[in-house]
Amino acid sequence: MALASNAPVDVLIIGAGASGAAVAYSLADTRMRIVCMEQGDWTRPSEYPSNYPDWEQQQGGEHSIDPNVRGRPADYPINNDASPISVVNYNGVGGGTILYAAHFPRLHPSDFRVKSLDGVADDWPVSYELLEPFFAANDRMMGVSGLAGDPTYPAKQPPLPPLPLGRTGETVARGFNKLGWHWWPSDSAIISRPYEGRDQCKNLGPCTSGCAQGAKSSTDITYWPAALRAGVELWTNCRVREITVSDDGMASGVYYYDADGNEQFQGAEVVVMACNGVGTPRILLNSTSSQFPDGLANRSGLVGRNLMFHPIGFVQGLFEERLDSHMGPQGCNFLSNEFYETDLSRGFVRGYMMQVTRGGGGPFATAMQGAATGAIPWGPGHHDAFQARFDHTASIGILCEDLPEQHNTVTLDPELVDSDGIAAPKINYTLSDNSRRMIDHGVARATEVMEAAGAIEITGGGPARLAGWHLLGTARMGNDPATSVVNGWGRSHDVKNLFIVDGSIFVTSGGVNPTSTIQALALYIADTMKKNLANLFD
């Protein structure tokens, strides 16, 4: 609900997703007046497809992960025509955490030092060690399940025991063991036991269209209730068009459209952007003025540049024995870091994580996918082919580190606009040769795993098209204003009361799902802001 007032608020946060919720919760300690504007609304768990018998069909429509298909009033269109990977997002309280798989690994220590270690891209101005207490605090706040002891990470202790491997996980794990390769139960932002008033996961399956059980840790049910109790105001259905600046070059507030489509202005002493790696550059580039003719905070020319996804390869194995492919958290079973670190003999720099998923969709998806590939015919023969596949598959995703390249951009589309007339983002992205080789290597290694695990048929490829889940790098952090947009604690080099806390500040992408690191960074930035309140703009 909007409680519009022209009186400036102390802190205005734009976006109520993973990072906006975390920074709002942390800053609430200050007892400042904090307002968060979210272009979407609350999503009721009773609306999620898994409440309904036609849940599989709903996933392809108004609950799609593709905003261009979903087309809700809160969504803005995205021009993906010049990219082999399409953007996935959700606009509403909780943001992408409403639809994410909740696979929750942290970036590794080496990910923050890629220049020093491997001579590519840039080092981050922060380290894993610096962020470690914020990772741990975030795990507790979100509710993370996992298993301590993974030898590919510094010691950490997830607050909840791991999610079940199931028959699918056991089967593929035996393949990894035959090859002598690393694997470990994934850290997952899905609660395996009752936690903080929420009941545990009951293996519904379709996590990526919202969790009706409330076991998946989306920020609408983790951070937001606590932030609201602490006094933060959350204004939904408020779509920010641009950030304004005063004569002294400081951010002064925002123009936004309320739920009725009326233009409003809200002043602010501090503006925090938490709109993801596409939404944040979109607003900044749309915020032009005589002081910032190329977009706000863009004197470096890097706003919208260096867009990184994680190009994703995929391999599916078909097994003779029945697994439990359609049950349990689809994206969260276990991971392998066997090929995570650089080994130049592989033909590429940096590496990838293998993410072992449950493998199969429900019956409808199995039948339709089988029809598309010819594996499951209609007519006589349908039943035998269907039953040989349904619940008989396991999958491995190959999540490749994407290195920053300035020509991969988010810009404003010259024609496409959202329902309020705001220019839509346009994605220009090409897959690098390094990423291409990484995908090919990963698909070949995952195929070896499936063979070792006993798969009787193996298919694979990549990059997956509708897989732009991770939107990173378009307002990178760094110490040099000439080569970065924000400093080491998220403050704009150009606008001293403008902060960015979402994935756009990533310097490099790492090769893991980024939400855990995005939120740890947001908590770190909020903590640094609190420690520097007396001289925040110096």
Binding site: S50, N51, P53, D54, W55, E56, Q57, H108, P109, S110, L117, L147, G149, P151, T152, Y153, P154, P162, P164, L165, G166, R167, G169, E170, A173, R174, N177, G180, H182, W183, W184, P185, K202, N203, L204, G205, A212, Q213, R322, D324, H326, M327, G328, N337, E341, G362, P363, F364, A367, M368, A371, W378, G379, P380, H382, H383, F386, Q387, F390, D391
Partner: protein, 152 residues
């Protein structure tokens, strides 16, 4: 109203007349016939029109176009002949056929008897849930014995 109808006829709002309903059922039966062992029912026995009305009413407007592609004696043909006819249709109208296939599969795989037979659990996933075995974490023993490998 049809001029031949007399006042005693109850007018139905059913979108298909009996002949076309029979044709649709025969089409569904061709796409998913009963299994030879009798365990799996035919899609032709299911209320496909009711399913479409409930879950994808927009498809009702496409149904006449699909049914017009088949002769009225289609239901009388044997399964091989019907399959051949559907194959011709699928090649001539691939997008339309895919939408028909989607509706038939959606209806079929939401059916309680079918879901029970394939071990998928009846009804919506929530609140029912699913049982997943915890798995044998002793499989991790060889990994646990590996040295620390994270890179400083």
């Amino acid at each position: 109203m049809n001029d031949n109808m007399n006042d005693n006829v109850i007018v139905s709002d059913h979108p298909l007349d009996p002949a076309r309903l029979r044709l649709l059922a025969s089409l569904a039966d061709t796409i998913v016939p009963a299994s030879a062992d009798g365990r799996m029912p035919t899609a032709g026995d299911m209320d496909l029109v009711g399913h479409i009305q409930q879950f994808s009413p927009e498809f009702l407007t496409e149904l006449p176009q699909i049914l017009d592609c088949f002769d009225t004696d289609f239901p009388e043909q044997d399964l091989d002949d019907r399959c051949e006819r559907v194959k011709v249709f699928s090649e001539a109208e691939p997008a339309l056929f895919r939408r028909l296939l989607s509706r038939v599969y959606a209806c079929y795989y939401q059916d309680d008897q079918v879901r029970t037979a394939i071990g998928a659990g009846v009804g919506a996933p929530f609140p029912r849930g699913n049982e997943v075995a915890p798995g044998d974490l002793s499989l991790l023993d060889p990994v646990m014995n590996n040295p620390i490998t994270w890179r400083r």
